[in-house]
C-alpha cells in the first residue's frame, strides 16, 4: 500500500476569495505577520500499489482527469 497525499489549490494569479477572508480574519486576531493565505483541499489516496513510480503516475492522471480543474487549480502529490 502506498499513500498519496494530493494537495489542490487555486493557481497563483487566480484570486482566492476564501484565502483572502481567512487572511483578513487572522489580521483582526492580531496575527499581523501573515503575508498571504491560500486555502486548498487535501485528498488522501490509499493505493493498492507497491511501485512508487506507477503510484505517482496514477495519482497524476487522477489529478488531471478529476481531482483538480487545471483551468483554475494546481496540484502537488506526495507519496508516503
Amino acid at each position: 500500500m502506498i499513500k498519496a497525499i494530493v494537495n489542490v489549490y487555486l493557481k497563483a494569479g487566480v484570486l482566492d476569495s476564501q484565502g483572502k477572508a481567512v487572511h483578513h480574519a487572522l489580521d483582526s486576531l492580531g496575527f499581523n505577520s501573515v503575508e498571504d493565505v491560500r486555502v486548498g483541499k487535501q485528498i488522501v489516496l490509499q493505493l493498492n500499489e507497491t511501485d512508487r513510480e506507477k503510484a505517482m503516475s496514477d495519482a497524476k492522471k487522477m489529478c488531471e482527469e478529476l481531482l483538480a480543474n487545471t483551468v483554475i487549480e494546481d496540484y502537488n502529490i506526495e507519496l508516503v
Binding site: 487555486l10 487566480v14 484570486l15 476569495s17 476564501q18 477572508a21 478529476l66 481531482l67 480543474n69 483551468v71 483554475i72
Partner: protein, 224 residues
C-alpha cells in the same frame, strides 16, 4: 420542437425548465443521467440547474462522468444545440464543452436575487430574439458563479463573439455581483451551438414572479 432536459442526482431545476419550454410550445422529456442515449428527435438539450452530486469536489466535477455525458458530447460535437443553466453551465465547463471555469463567488455568499444582464452578442440561435445592448432582468441563484478564464482565453472569447451576457445594472452599466472576469454571466463555444449561463431564464417566465424576460431569451431556440 423537442427539448430534452438532463437530470442528475441533485438536479432541482428540471421541472422549471420543463414548465418554461412547455409554455413556449415545446415537447419536453426529462432524461435520467444513467441513460446512455438522448432522444433522436432532440432539438435542444438542456443541462438544468441544481446541485448535481451535491457539488462534491467541485460543482459539476462528478456529473461530467455520468453515462449520459458521452451522448451529450457526441450530440454537441455533431452540432446539436445544448443549453447549460447554472449548475448545467458548471457541468459543461467541467466537461470541456465550454471554456473557462466557475469559482466560489468573490464575496463567499450564496447570491439569490434578480439581476440585470446586458446582451453582448445576439448573433446566435440562443439570443437572436434580442439585440446587442438589450438589458434583461433574470434571477441568479448560485454560490459558485464567479466565472474565470485567463487573459488569452478572454481575448479569444471577445474576438469570436462568444460572450453572451454580462452582469449590469438596469441601465446596462457593469455591476458585478460575484467577481466574474469581465462581469461575464454567460458564454458559448466557438461553433455557437453550446451555451452556458449562471442566471435562470427558466425562472423568469411570469410577470407575477418578478419578470418574464426569460421568454425572449429561450424563444430563440424555436425556429420561426
Amino acid at each position: 420542437m423537442k427539448v430534452s432536459i438532463l437530470q442528475f442526482p441533485g438536479t432541482n431545476c428540471e421541472y422549471d425548465a420543463e414548465y418554461a419550454f412547455q409554455k413556449l410550445g415545446a415537447d419536453t422529456e426529462i432524461i435520467w443521467h444513467k441513460s446512455e442515449t438522448i432522444p433522436q428527435d432532440t432539438n435542444l438539450l438542456v443541462v438544468a440547474g441544481g446541485f448535481s452530486y451535491g457539488d462534491y469536489l467541485r460543482s459539476g466535477a462528478i456529473a461530467k462522468f455520468s453515462p449520459v455525458m458521452q451522448a451529450v458530447t457526441t450530440y454537441a460535437n455533431n452540432g446539436g444545440n445544448v443549453l447549460g443553466i447554472c449548475n448545467g453551465f458548471q457541468v459543461l465547463t467541467e466537461a470541456g464543452l465550454l471554456p473557462g471555469a466557475l469559482k466560489r463567488n468573490e464575496g463567499l455568499h450564496f447570491i439569490s436575487k434578480h439581476h440585470h444582464l446586458k446582451v453582448q452578442n445576439s448573433d446566435n440561435i440562443f439570443l437572436k430574439e434580442l439585440s446587442d445592448g438589450d438589458v434583461v432582468n433574470i434571477p441568479i441563484a448560485h454560490h459558485d458563479g464567479n466565472y474565470y478564464i485567463d487573459d488569452a482565453g478572454l481575448q479569444e472569447l471577445e474576438a469570436n463573439e462568444q460572450i453572451l451576457l454580462k452582469y449590469t445594472d438596469a441601465s446596462g452599466n457593469i455591476q458585478n455581483p460575484n467577481g466574474s472576469v469581465a462581469s461575464i454571466a454567460g458564454v458559448c463555444n466557438k461553433n455557437k451551438n453550446v451555451f452556458g449561463l449562471m442566471p435562470h431564464p427558466e425562472r423568469a417566465m411570469e410577470v407575477v414572479l418578478g419578470s418574464n424576460d426569460g421568454i425572449n431569451m429561450l424563444q430563440g431556440f424555436f425556429e420561426s
